[in-house]
């Protein structure tokens, strides 16, 4: 073809200016004329995701039942830590106020720590057992595992935990469970929400 472009003399047939080349990626002008292999669609590059080998019949994500025990154990230990620190703080306050010293003070502090620690550990552990139980039953009954299971299980846990304290407290418990689960689901699905926003807000 008749180009009077001085750059086109070296590799005229591979230029990105040639409409029949069907170039999808336009690199800089010098590179495009150096090699025809630089005009490619980046989709053909290998993705940098890790590629795992799974045995047959195994789901890609760990199921709720497998995660349940470590969630329960983790919340138990977390409760023990939080309760222990709170009990230590309360014990320090009350033993200083009462002027205890020495062995008596050590025993009193230990008692405070153990009592508050075990109380909070038991509470958080029971909540985790209820949540895991509801989650496993829901995912088994529905046959799939998604955020709806999380939200419903958390609300049911809140309702059940406060169910013997009267209707109002029961509803407040369910509401707290629902809001915690909603915040967690929004945070964990923030990539998907990002796409959602871009799709519906072209501005």
């Amino acid at each position: 073809m008749n180009n009077t472009d001085p750059d086109a003399t070296y590799a005229a047939s591979y230029s990105s200016k040639d409409p029949s080349m069907n170039v999808s990626v336009h690199s800089q002008q010098n590179l495009a004329q150096l090699s025809p292999y630089l005009n490619f669609n980046p989709v053909y590059l290998p993705q940098s995701q890790p590629e795992f080998i799974f045995p047959e019949g195994v789901a890609r994500q760990r199921g709720r039942f497998e995660l349940a025990f470590s969630q329960i154990g983790g919340s138990c230990m977390l409760g023990a830590g939080i309760g222990g620190i709170g009990g230590f703080y309360n014990g320090l306050k009350s033993t200083t106020l009462a002027g205890h010293t020495g062995k008596l003070r050590r025993t009193q502090l230990l008692n405070y720590v153990m009592k508050q620690g075990s109380a909070t550990a038991n509470t958080l552990g029971v909540l985790a057992v209820m949540y895991s139980g509801f989650g496993v039953i829901l995912s088994w009954a529905r046959g799939c595992d998604d955020e709806l299971n999380t939200i419903v299980a958390a609300s049911a846990t809140g309702l059940l935990y406060k169910s013997s304290a009267g209707l109002r407290k029961c509803a407040i418990g369910g509401g707290i469970g629902f809001s915690l689960a909603a915040v967690y689901c929004l945070w964990s699905a923030r990539d998907k929400l990002q796409d959602f926003r871009q799709e519906y807000n072209p501005a």
Binding site: G73, S118, N122, V129, S164
Partner: protein, 167 residues
């Protein structure tokens, strides 16, 4: 794969703590509901309320005790595995004894010793039953005994016309 369903050692402690808590929670709920039912005044409503109250009060405590036992046992077990650099039933037995002893520490030395012996014997029984089951189910996986034609050293001298037919 089921044989690799246990987590590696540090996370195993959290898993075992959670498992023990769940066992204590469910077992405690069952036993305390029956106990509360029986110890409540007569009348089905009062009995059910009594059973519910007993479950709410006592089963978290039982679950917590189980969780402490399970977590401590698993911690000592993982520590022994790390120190001895092998996994065998002795780790579990020693851990059971140590857990029993530590959890009875507030009651003085004789109580500690007694509790340690009970814990050790219990774990030895559990491990023994486990080994028994492994031996019994190993029959299942034994490879087939070698057949008559498999081993070439057992064949004996070749038949007389053999080498000529080979060429």
């Amino acid at each position: 794969m089921e044989e690799y369903a246990r987590e590696p050692c540090p996370w195993r402690i959290v898993d075992d703590c959670g498992g023990a808590f769940t066992m204590g929670c469910i077992g405690g709920a069952v036993f305390q509901s029956i106990k509360g039912f029986r110890n409540a005044p007569s009348g089905l409503n009062r009995r059910l309320l009594g059973s519910l109250a007993a479950v709410k009060q006592r089963s978290p405590v039982i679950a917590g005790n189980f969780a402490v036992w399970g977590g401590l046992f698993s911690t000592i077990d993982c520590t022994l595995v790390h120190i001895r650099r092998k996994e065998d039933p002795w780790n579990s037995i020693i851990s059971g004894a140590a857990t029993g002893g530590i959890l009875a520490a507030r009651n003085g030395l004789p109580a500690m010793a007694g509790s340690a012996i009970i814990g050790g014997v219990l774990l030895a029984l559990i491990e023994g039953v486990g080994i028994l089951f492994t031996r019994l189910s190993a029959e299942h996986f034994r490879p087939a005994p070698p057949q008559l034609g498999d081993d070439p050293t057992q064949l004996g001298p070749p038949p007389p016309g053999f080498s000529q037919s080979y060429q």
